[in-house]
């Protein structure tokens, strides 16, 4: 909790700096004109005082665990170190637990580690506090010793704000890089133990077996084809529902429906998009799947209670609004002149829609469908709750299949060692998922943008 104390300290120093800077400028102003208002000198001093200290605090907090980790390693006995990286991580957890519960279990190694840990923590806190105060004060001194007349306080302040704004927008890039790096690194580690081609083209998926036999390098069990196929099967079912329903309702609402009906029906359909996916998962697992199973039984079909059909249908319902609102956008973007031209020739409305509007809107609609497809591929909760866990390579929608996202969740929830191929496999799957959806999205957004430009 020292971090919050330090943040308060920095804020306090900054306020002090603001007051001091403003006071000095206000006094100087009596003797002549300054280049900026006193309050701008206040901001200027506050920024010089607070910003460096804040940056130090953030960097320190980010790097501290890494450093302490290294230091703790040194006091740990060889027996722990010679095991894999993961066991050191686990040991760190033990240390934290021991501190939290105030119970060292009278284990001499643990006692020593805990002592060292607490000592390091204390040292770190002291050094950090001193540094923060020093930086804050020297910032004030630096800003105050600058000549008031030469300092463009306002434009300095504005530059700092501008840089801060830029950093804000850079967060998006940092996030993407973070995703790519984290997924990529763990995947590379995975591919050190499992051949890439065995992963991408293998048809047998059973990560549990490899764990049980303690054969980290075993590659036979990590064939992801059944997962890809299961994902595609469920997504295809979803699109089979969502595309016709979404497209036709978009056509009806934009071309036929009265203003009043459209004004109520459109938001009503969009409610479907606002319902959390876990709710759909519940609905799929407890209502739709049993319903489909019973229905199948009544006509003599053997339907799994975790059938791909159930998950696919519910997922289809979920993405109806994506297809319909994107299609609606592109259909209304088709200029009225097109409709007039066709109607003026004596075409009926449906002829106009089928032969002029849909062809004109086709690129946009395709883009929308691709976005919906990427949404279906990446959807997690519905399939986690309603699809199966066993990797069947089948095209029969009445059987249970598993998907990429289901396996990621299964591999990463519960007790985990971070270095086993089992957990790393989740990252490799994540990489596949990220790349696939990224390609789909970039392609779809490109098509949609091209389409918009056509009618601007």
């Amino acid at each position: 909790m020292t971090a919050s104390v330090l943040i308060l300290l920095i804020i306090g120093l900054s306020i002090l700096a603001f007051l001091a800077g403003r006071f000095r400028a206000a006094r100087a102003q009596k003797n002549g004109r300054l280049k900026a208002l006193p309050k701008h000198y206040g901001y200027y001093t506050a920024i010089w005082s607070g910003l460096p200290a804040l940056i130090l605090l953030v960097a320190w907090s980010a790097l501290k665990p890494v450093y302490i980790h290294e230091q703790i390693r040194e006091v740990l006995p060889q027996s722990v170190l010679t095991q894999s990286n993961a066991s050191v991580d686990l040991y760190m957890n033990d240390i934290l637990l021991a501190i939290q519960n105030n119970d060292t279990r009278d284990d001499p190694v643990l006692i020593r580690a805990v002592d060292r840990y607490q000592q390091l923590q204390q040292e770190s806190n002291w050094i950090l506090t001193v540094l923060v105060v020093l930086l804050g004060l020297s910032g004030i001194v630096y800003a105050m010793t600058n000549s008031l007349l030469r300092t463009q306080a306002r434009s300095h302040t504005e530059t700092v704000i501008r840089v801060a704004l830029f950093i804000c927008s850079g967060v998006a890039i940092v996030t993407t890089i973070g995703i790519v790096l984290s997924v990529l690194f763990e995947s590379l580690r995975f591919f050190q133990s499992v051949n890439f081609f065995d992963f991408v083209f293998g048809t047998k998926w059973s990560p549990q077996i490899a764990i049980r036999a303690d054969q980290a390098g075993s590659s036979g069990a990590f064939g992801a084809v059944p997962l890809f196929f299961g994902t595609l099967l469920i997504s295809a079912i979803a699109l089979l529902i969502a595309v016709p329903v979404g497209l036709f309702s978009a056509i009806y609402l934009s071309e036929y429906a009265s203003q009043r009906f459209r004004a109520t029906a459109k938001p009503a359909l969009e409610i479907l998009a606002g319902i959390p996916t876990v709710v759909y998962g519940f609905f799929a697992a407890l209502t739709v799947a049993p319903f489909i199973r019973d229905l199948g039984q009544s006509i003599g079909l053997d339907v799994s209670s975790e059938s791909a059909l159930a998950a696919g249908v519910v997922m289809g319902v979920m993405i109806i609004p994506f297809v319909s609102s994107l299609s609606d956008d592109v259909i209304t973007a088709v200029p009225q002149a097109m409709r007039d031209g066709s109607l003026g020739l004596g075409a009926t409305r449906s002829e106009t829609i089928k032969q002029v509007i849909i062809p004109a809107a086709l690129p946009g609609i395709v883009g929308g469908v691709l976005l919906a497809a990427s949404r279906a591929i990446g959807e997690t909760m519905i399939v986690v709750m309603a699809a199966g866990l066993s990797a069947n390579l089948t095209a029969n929608p009445l059987e249970a299949v598993t998907t990429v996202t289901v396996q990621i969740v299964t591999l990463l929830t519960g007790d985990q060692e971070f270095d086993s191929p089992k957990t790393l496999a989740a990252f490799a799957l994540g990489l596949m998922l990220f790349v696939t959806t990224l390609v789909l999205n970039v392609f779809a957004l490109h098509i949609v943008r091209k389409y918009r430009e056509q009618y601007e």
Binding site: P65, S155, V279, I320, T380
Partner: protein, 421 residues
Amino acid sequence: MNNTEQVKLSLKKRYAREKRFQWYGKIAVWIGFVFLATLLLDITLKALPAFQKTEIQLQVPIDWETLGLQPDTRIDPESLRTVDFGGVLKKSLREVFPDVKKRKDKKLLYRLISSGAEYQLRDLILSEPELIQQGKISLWVTADDDVDTFYKLKKSTSRIKPKQAEMIQQLMDQGKIRTRFNDTFFQNSDSREPEQAGIRGALVGSFWTLLVTLVISLPIGIGAAVYLEEFAPKNKLTDIIEVNINNLAAVPSIVFGLLGLAVFINFFGMPRSAPLVGGIVLSLMTLPTIIISARAAIKSVPPSIKEAALGLGASHMQTVFHHVLPLAMPGILTGAIIGMAQALGETAPLLMIGMVAFIVDVPGGILDSATVLPVQIYLWADSPERAFTALTAAAILVLLAFLVTMNAIAIYLRKQFERRW
């Protein structure tokens, strides 16, 4: 006229096609409606039982002797630690059914009431010690979830033994069993026993997580939107940022979970299951939504207002912060609320960072282990006990109520502050 005749000939067929086409559209819209209605109705019907809980009336002896305490002991948690409240309740159960003699039957009898009933009794005595003077009180204790299900459905389930069914029938005849509003559901946190499980812990967890999300994503989102709309030069970097934001909006949420696991938990060593990490992950996820809507809001402020301020000699920065942002605020907040609603319903990334743990305590801050409402729903939906189905559906209703409220506020804001320039 030849042409006209020809056109006339084709008309009937064409109008039939026209009508059919219109019907396809109507059917499509109604399919959407029917799905929505079925979903909501199904969940509401499933949830209804969870808002009622079944209670059994017992005459509980609570004199000093039964409690095993010296007369006039100070009543506090410490002194009550030794008291066998379970035994006291069992004794009062036996009094209701004096003819139950066999050991096996007694066991069934004891299973009629919730295992949490003893805490109910203890808490009562803790809050009103003077009750002990009465020697005996009449107390409605929570029934076991199987009894609850049996009593509400009024039909046998495999989990109720015939003997127990007889006992319940006897209680009904004596009017010693009733249902009332299930306050437990709102006051308790997660539990292995359905009749003791509630959503309080998950709600508080959701609150902390959303708080972190809001604190991080709102300033960063506004900052990014202001930069991109007002200050960004037209260059490659800006293009890359824009494409990036659009793509991030479509990255599957589970991938953000992987990011959180690899970066925040494994690299930076942040605590697992904590609202802090959950909030950070969710804010990265909602950031594109907030940025996109904030940009739209900023863009809709007419340039004439900006020009007026610039014309008076205000700097670009002053113009933005004094004039553009305040005018764009309702739009920005609308977007932020919608982003928060998204974050509130999100489940998958939180599974990755360990917010799926079974947590009984109400989290007291952003570093405590916590779960959130949607994850609680996921956990309950996975539980085999029948009574959890109702709880899950009820929790879903609560979640939907929050989402509806948030969206209603967003719509209200938009309506209220919508300006036609």
